[in-house]
């Protein structure tokens, strides 16, 4: 445990990276996330806010960013609203009035996405829970099961759901709904099936649902069970393979689907610089975003029952994309070749995690630390929690690439089980591990210098 004592540069790197993610937001101090339903009420009560909000909605009605930016009136409305709670508001998954909240959010943000519509920012509050918490709960549930070769984690997951009344009831509801009809093609009630699946995911706590979705498997029966968790014959597969660009565009028509999709893109975005593989270094957030897609046409699923590979994808292809094909292929890779998601699933299986630690206070002070803190762009509850990879003694490697003695060391740790999984790291990475680390350090340094010069 004392291996987890402060490792400053890495945490700073993450802080800096998170800060950069939020750097598009105006530099007002971040209020603890107001939900958009409440923010809407606040704005309605304020005369200047409500009139600007009305104006902005008219400006955005044309869904044309250019008109918005060219008209002075629209520009003014935008400027005022950027300082109102409406602009920074977020929603919570499964909250009361989630739809209403998301409608308010997209009402403001829909037309404002700069550049690529695919990479929209999630309207949901950042996930603060940790994978290790979920895992610990799940392990307590499972007691001390003997780990034999016949051990089937997915079967255990089903058991723990079955002996819990709420889990059993909602699981049975979605299974029976999705399983009726049964024949070929669209013989099942797909919409009802999706609704039942969403209810299951929203109401059942992660320590019961994640083991069903992400159970680690060593043999084919286990992996087949895992593949079947969301009754893919009904909820996932369709008689035809639709075009991905089409299903994503359809999804964006629905505020909830659009939010879940952008939540996945935001929280499962891979990063070659990050040890975890995730740009946000939060496995729980990525798994939550994956689960949030279940019950929508854009959902992902395990594509086969090979226990040794994690092949995941949506039920769509890039055929028939026309001139969009390059984009389609690029976007599709965010789902099918997602290192962050893959690592998150493996991490859930073996209980490793990206651990959040409060280490800023005990960290050796550098001139940089207070600056990053002072910028106050992070949500209150996250501003002082740093994210560190879990330390596995013996496999940790210390790097002191930078000669400057005032720079504390950067520690990179990969758990043994991750080493052994062939699919975890791409070939490119294993060839150039050290180079990557050097690049990371350069990136950290650069980022910090950049932030300093900006503030």
């Amino acid at each position: 445990m004392n291996m987890l004592t402060p490792m400053v540069p890495y945490s700073l790197f993450l802080l800096a990276q998170t800060a950069l993610t939020f750097s598009l937001s105006p530099s007002v101090s971040w209020p603890s996330h107001t939900d958009c339903v409440h923010a809407n009420e606040l704005c309605t009560a304020d005369q200047s806010c409500s009139s600007r909000y009305r104006t902005l909605r008219q400006c955005l009605a044309g869904r044309d960013r250019d008109t918005l930016l060219s008209s002075q009136e629209c520009k003014n409305a935008m400027e005022v609203l950027q300082e109102s709670p409406l602009y920074l508001c977020r929603c919570r998954r499964g909250m009361k009035k989630e739809l209403q909240c998301l409608q308010v959010y997209w009402g403001i943000h829909a037309g404002l996405t700069e550049g690529d519509e695919f990479y929209e920012t999630s309207p949901y509050e950042p996930v603060t829970s940790r994978l290790s918490d979920i895992f610990r709960l799940a392990s307590i549930n499972s007691g001390s099961e003997p780990v034999s070769s016949k051990h089937n984690a997915c079967l255990d997951a089903a058991k723990f759901c079955n002996v819990n009344d709420a889990c059993k009831r909602l699981r049975s509801t979605y299974i029976s709904t999705c399983n009726t009809g049964g024949g070929e093609g669209e013989n099942c009630a797909r919409r009802k099936c999706h609704r039942a699946l969403r209810t299951f995911i929203e109401r059942i706590p992660a320590d019961l649902s994640y083991p069903l979705l992400f159970c680690p498997c060593r043999d084919q029966p286990c992996a087949e069970r895992r593949r079947q968790t969301a009754v893919p014959e009904c909820s996932f597969k369709r008689p035809e393979m639709p075009n991905c660009m089409e299903i994503w565009a359809n999804c964006r028509q629905d505020p909830v689907c659009r939010s879940r999709l952008s939540d996945f893109i935001t929280n499962c975005q891979s990063s070659p610089q990050s040890v975890s593989g995730c740009i946000r270094d939060n496995y729980a957030a990525c798994l939550g975003a994956y689960a949030g897609l279940i019950g929508f046409d854009v959902a992902l699923n395990f594509l086969d029952s090979d226990p040794h590979s994690i092949s995941i994808g949506p039920w769509c292809s890039c055929n028939g994309s026309g001139d969009q094909e390059t984009w389609c292929e690029r976007y599709l890779k965010e789902f099918t070749q997602n290192r962050c998601l893959r690592n998150a699933i493996l991490a859930f299986g073996n209980g490793t995690d990206v651990v959040h630690r409060q280490s800023v206070t005990s960290a050796p002070r550098t001139t940089i630390t207070p600056k990053v803190e002072a910028s106050n762009v992070l949500p209150d509850n996250q501003s002082d929690s740093n994210i560190l990879p879990e330390v596995d003694p013996g496999i940790c490697t210390s790097f002191q690439e930078i000669k400057n003695s005032s720079t504390p060391e950067l520690r990179i740790c990969v758990s043994e089980s991750q080493h052994n999984v062939p699919n975890l790291r791409t070939d490119e990475e294993s060839h150039s591990g050290t180079q990557q680390l050097q690049a990371s350090i350069l990136y950290i340094t650069f980022t910090l210098v950049f932030r300093l010069s900006m503030s």
């Binding site: 089903a158 079955n162 299974i175 029976s176 069970r225 079947q228």
Partner: protein
């Protein structure tokens, strides 16, 4: 041992539960999935009514001979648990209704 047996016999009708595999239910399904089986167990002495006493008496006087009658209340489910769904060994989903008790009573 006598004490223990006496106490067991005295236990009133209640809901009990057991973790069993789907195969063990004996319904013809083959699956290793574990389900919670709730059943009714216990005696119904407190629920004996004049009806039961009378029936016993009349039967004792051989006035009822050929019919099968039950002159004691019986501990049975008064309500069944929600459906149970599971994946069988051939990877098909099934749902079974009214397989587990939710509430018991002396009827």
């Amino acid at each position: 041992a006598r004490m223990k047996r006496a106490r067991v016999r005295k236990q009133p009708c209640t809901l009990k539960e057991l973790e069993v595999s789907v195969s063990e239910l004996g319904l013809g399904y083959v699956s290793d999935e574990t389900v919670l089986f709730r059943y009714c167990s216990g005696t119904c002495e407190a629920a004996v009514r004049n009806y039961d006493l009378s029936l016993q008496s009349i039967r004792g006087k051989k006035k009822i001979k050929k019919e099968k009658v039950r002159a004691r209340p019986c501990c049975r489910p008064t309500e069944y648990d929600d459906d149970v769904s599971f994946l069988d060994s051939k990877n098909h989903y099934h749902t079974i209704k009214e397989v587990s008790a939710k509430d018991c009573g002396c009827v």
